[in-house]
């Protein structure tokens, strides 16, 4: 039977297409790229870093209010990429889930449990017709119970995994290729090297020379497990140090 189901609703809501695919989920992935943003996350020996482009659509917008990096819980930071409203919704839900866990169980949610919870919520949107999948991908960074840095990524399909390095957004393939080439070196990188490789990845795949106001950078390190966003001065220092390396 080659005709599509129910007069073609398989493209409108999350039901199966004849080939067994979910078109709405696939379209949600495309929606992530609508904003034209690329972000990357990578972990080193004792550091995890997220870096994202900061695009201000209008000069009159207060740039300090445009943030894609957020604290979810002390020790867990998230980087949201995709449709702005969906990003905010998912980030707020992550905060709620983390706080709820802490309240119910009396200890802070482990990063893998939070990633799983968000991914499970995304899965519900792929199975229930009344809610569409969210057009955003979330990357969480933090330390696990064994004191190792972790990078987790969830997507609209409900899939999640831990990564050594990952790209999200328009140029994610190029970011992934960049990290894969340096795969064996990542695990031994120091704090400085990890931040540098993250920023270099983004500037390399976007072929851009960044100003400190063009990107946002967030880190967790063994020395300071709280998620921290680097200030403009610190980003400037890193950009200078990268320029000096070349």
């Amino acid at each position: 039977m080659a005709r599509s189901s129910s007069a073609g609703f398989d493209r409108h809501i999350t039901i199966f297409s004849p080939e067994g695919k979910l078109y709405q989920v696939e379209y949600a992935f495309k929606a992530i790229n609508q904003g034209g943003i690329t972000s990357a996350a990578v972990k080193g020996h004792d550091t995890a870093v997220v870096v994202t482009q900061k695009k201000i659509p209008d000069k009159l917008i207060d740039s300090s209010a445009v943030k894609n990096l957020h604290v979810v819980e002390q020790g867990i930071g998230c980087m949201m990429t995709g449709m702005p409203a969906d990003c905010r919704s998912q980030m707020t839900r992550a905060r709620y889930e983390a706080a709820n866990w802490h309240y119910k169980f009396g200890y802070k949610i482990p990063i893998d449990q939070l990633a799983k919870r968000i991914a499970d919520i995304n899965q519900v949107y792929t199975q229930n017709a009344e809610m569409r999948p969210l057009g955003c991908a979330m990357v969480l960074i933090g330390f696990d119970d064994e004191g190792q840095p972790r990078v987790y990524r969830t997507d609209p399909a409900g899939f999640y995994s831990s990564f050594k390095g990952t790209g999200v957004g328009v140029k994610q393939q190029e970011c992934n290729a960049y990290f894969e080439k340096r795969n064996t070196k990542l695990a031994s990188m120091s704090y400085m090297e990890t931040v540098q490789v993250a920023i270099k990845c983004l500037s390399s795949v976007l072929s851009a020379d960044f100003k400190p106001t063009d990107i946002e950078v967030g880190v967790v390190t063994a020395a300071n497990k709280e998620f921290r966003m680097l200030s403009e001065e610190e980003i400037d220092q890193y950009l200078t140090s990268i320029a000096e390396l070349d």
């Binding site: 039901i15 199966f16 067994g20 199975q127 995994s161 831990s162 990564f163 894969e180």
Partner: protein
């Protein structure tokens, strides 16, 4: 919280078929290959677990999951849907044990998981699960292997294959299956069957193997153990 659709999305076609379930089976057939074999003193399941690139940390997510001490579950199809069923199955197993004071027989678990999957083919506003499950367990020393489909139907198997190339896999198993073989031999046959549908080299990194051993326990093999078998 949210308003639900009050009508089912899985409805009969003029020829009497439930096409959403057929499409769900298509999603399963596009999934990674999985093999299950019942031996004289145990059960083994093996599944391909290919990462798209080397940046994935393979050990952060598993395809073969423990449901109870004596029951394990694996799938072919959509990973996120599988996680939902793992959660439900675990709860069902715990509730049974709490009510009846004994470990849930595998057949009972399979019936109840099948009922959950059937719900999603009839309830309002939801689509069927895009996974076929292989549930393995040891009931009082007797090994059992079951398959649960998106429709909610379940079958007991001596040996079976799911996912890509499952027809060839089943043909291969028909020739190789021996009811009297020991667990170690069954593991060997499972690996061979999986190799038939494998692209590239098979290593302990891109394959997961789970067994129910003669002690009645479900165990997921470690990387080293898999390496030995390979």
């Amino acid at each position: 919280m949210t308003e639900r659709y009050s009508f089912s999305l899985t409805t009969f076609s003029p020829s009497g078929k439930l096409v959403q379930i057929e499409y769900a089976l298509a999603a399963v057939a596009a999934g990674a290959p999985t093999v299950g074999i019942k031996a004289k003193n145990g059960v083994v399941v093996a599944t391909e677990k290919k990462a798209k690139n080397s940046l994935y940390e393979q050990d952060s997510v598993h395809k073969i999951e423990k449901i109870a001490d004596h029951i394990g579950m694996v799938y072919s199809g959509m990973g996120p849907d599988f996680r939902v069923l793992v959660k439900r199955a675990r709860k069902i197993a715990m509730q049974y044990e709490s009510s009846y004071g004994e470990a849930i027989p595998t057949g009972q678990l399979v019936q109840r998981v099948g009922a959950v999957m059937q719900e999603y083919t009839q309830s309002g506003g939801v689509r069927p699960f895009g996974v076929s499950l292989l549930i393995m367990g040891m009931d009082d020393g007797k090994p059992t292997l079951w398959q649960c489909d998106p429709s909610g139907t379940f079958f007991p198997w001596k040996a079976t294959a799911l996912g890509k190339n499952h027809i060839n896999g089943k043909t291969f198993l028909e020739k190789r299956f021996n009811a009297d073989q020991e667990l170690d031999d069954a593991i060997h046959v499972a690996i061979l069957t999986l190799k038939e549908s494998f692209e590239g080299a098979m290593t302990e990194e891109n394959v997961e193997i789970g067994i129910c051993n003669d002690l009645g326990k479900f165990v997921r093999l470690s990387h080293n153990e898999i390496k030995d078998h390979l």
